[in-house]
């Protein structure tokens, strides 16, 4: 089976690799780019742990192949914090509101919530819960996560006021 050359940008840096077609974007990010912040839970699109931004849209990195990201811009959780390591609003809110315990699902929640709040700056409670429904957390529980996203939305609203 023929390997394919791909060029893309990951967190702003150009990357060029030759990959087997069956390599998922998630495995590519973890194994070729050494960006292990993108986690893999179910590997078939159910859990959301591998969520990344593809040209700005939140997608499951386990449900596409690295070859399909050729020419695209990918943002992983490593690209969400400020370059000096300062937490993003969503990350800071998760920390403050006990939105994580073991942290395995957290990168997926951070990416999903970041994309959601960008597109829906003043969400209702229902919209928040709906937006988080594609990410599974098995230990923290969702109360703290929902609270954190609500707080992050308010922080954005206050800043733009």
């Amino acid at each position: 089976m023929l390997d394919v050359e791909i060029r893309l940008r990951v967190n702003g840096s150009p990357r060029r690799h030759t990959v087997p077609p069956r390599l998922t974007l998630a495995d590519y990010l973890r194994e070729r780019c050494q960006l292990t912040g993108t986690h893999l839970g179910c590997e078939h699109g159910a859990c959301g742990a591998c969520t990344v931004l593809l040209d700005g849209a939140a997608v499951r990195a386990c449900l596409m192949f690295a070859v399909q990201a050729d020419g695209c811009e990918v943002t992983t959780v490593e690209g969400i914090a400020a370059p000096d390591g300062g937490l993003s609003r969503v990350q800071a809110a998760l920390q403050e509101h006990h939105g994580l315990q073991c942290g395995f699902c957290t990168p997926g929640f951070v990416i999903s919530a970041t994309a959601f709040l960008r597109d829906t700056p003043n969400p209702t409670e229902e919209q928040i819960r709906d937006a988080l429904s594609g990410n599974l957390c098995r230990c923290t529980g969702y109360q703290g996560i929902v609270k954190a996203v609500r707080a992050a939305a308010q922080a954005v609203a206050e800043q733009t006021r």
């Binding site: 089976m1 069956r22 078939h44 709906d130």
Partner: protein
């Protein structure tokens, strides 16, 4: 699990695509958004030797075509969800879209993919059936148009030949006093529905049912039209039929209702009658206020 090995092709246009599919034959599979296919690959339920990616062929967006609306096969569900043209021309399509997967799935998943995958529990096949949509396809033998009514031929199987690709979907106009609704029940939000119904109805000036489409999903090996119920309803006064009666009519005589640990066939049938009744009630309400 990791997907099995395959060769990857990303042809530059749709003509090259169907030519390639003709050359590769049975061993090739088309991938668009991949949100149904990649899980099947990861679970090794599907193991094609070649994947032919539609990412460079275009076929995106929604355009008026006369009174009808054409939607390109590669249009993502997220684009459809945000499209003002879709919301205005095909409200049922707009209303069905947020029920599909999660927003991360809808960012990749396409309408052509949803229809060609033909999952009996999926929303878009039911919407296409209820509205009497037509699928435009292309193969090396040329283009053809397939009515949604004859497109779904069996479990995950369609009328498409191995070298044929859906290029677009044409939704016919529903002029007059019309109403549209989709209802489904799933144990968790955005999961595949245990049972669902998409309803389109036109009410005549005198209050009788002029035209209706009732499509059922999750209730058989293929998405279904409740044709017998529709025939019985046309010409009746909307006041004269109870919503529950429409539900009962729609699920009467259903064969091959699926059964698994999430629900027996009897349970699904019962839920089916309820979702039909709810969708009917909302669609009729909208038509009467139109």
């Amino acid at each position: 699990m990791k997907p099995p090995k395959f060769d990857y092709h990303a042809p530059a246009d749709i003509h090259q695509t169907v030519g390639l599919l003709a050359d590769l034959g049975e061993d090739a599979k088309v991938i668009a958004g991949g949100q149904s296919l990649v899980p099947l690959l990861a679970l090794r339920l599907s193991f094609p030797e070649h994947l032919v990616d539609l990412r460079h062929v275009g076929l995106r967006g929604a355009q008026a075509r006369g009174d009808a609306l054409w939607v390109g096969a590669c249009t993502t569900q997220a684009t459809i969800e945000r499209s003002a043209a879709v919301a205005a021309a095909v409200p049922l399509l707009a209303r069905a879209t947020p029920l599909i997967g999660h927003f991360q799935i809808r960012n990749r998943g396409t309408i052509g993919g949803s229809l060609a995958h033909a999952d009996a529990a999926a929303e878009y096949p039911a919407v296409a059936l209820a509205l009497g949509a037509e699928l435009e396809t292309l193969s090396p033998r040329g283009p053809r148009t397939i009515p949604a009514m004859s497109f779904f031929t069996g479990r995950w199987t369609t009328e498409l030949a191995t070298d044929e690709v859906v290029t677009g979907i044409v939704f016919p106009p529903w002029p007059g006093r019309c109403g549209f609704a989709i209802e489904e029940f799933a144990r968790r939000g955005h999961d595949f529905a245990l049972a669902g119904a998409a309803v389109a109805v036109e009410v005549a000036g005198g209050g009788s049912i002029e035209r209706c489409g009732i499509a059922l999903f999750g209730l058989g090996p293929v998405p279904l039209r409740a044709s017998a119920a529709e025939t019985a309803l046309i010409g009746s006064g909307v006041e004269d039929i109870a919503d529950d009666e429409v539900g009962r009519l729609a699920v009467a005589g259903l064969d091959g209702v699926p059964a698994d640990l999430h629900g027996s066939a009897g349970y699904r049938r019962q839920v089916g009658a309820v979702v039909v009744a709810r969708a009917w009630q909302r669609a009729v309400q909208e038509a009467r206020n139109a």
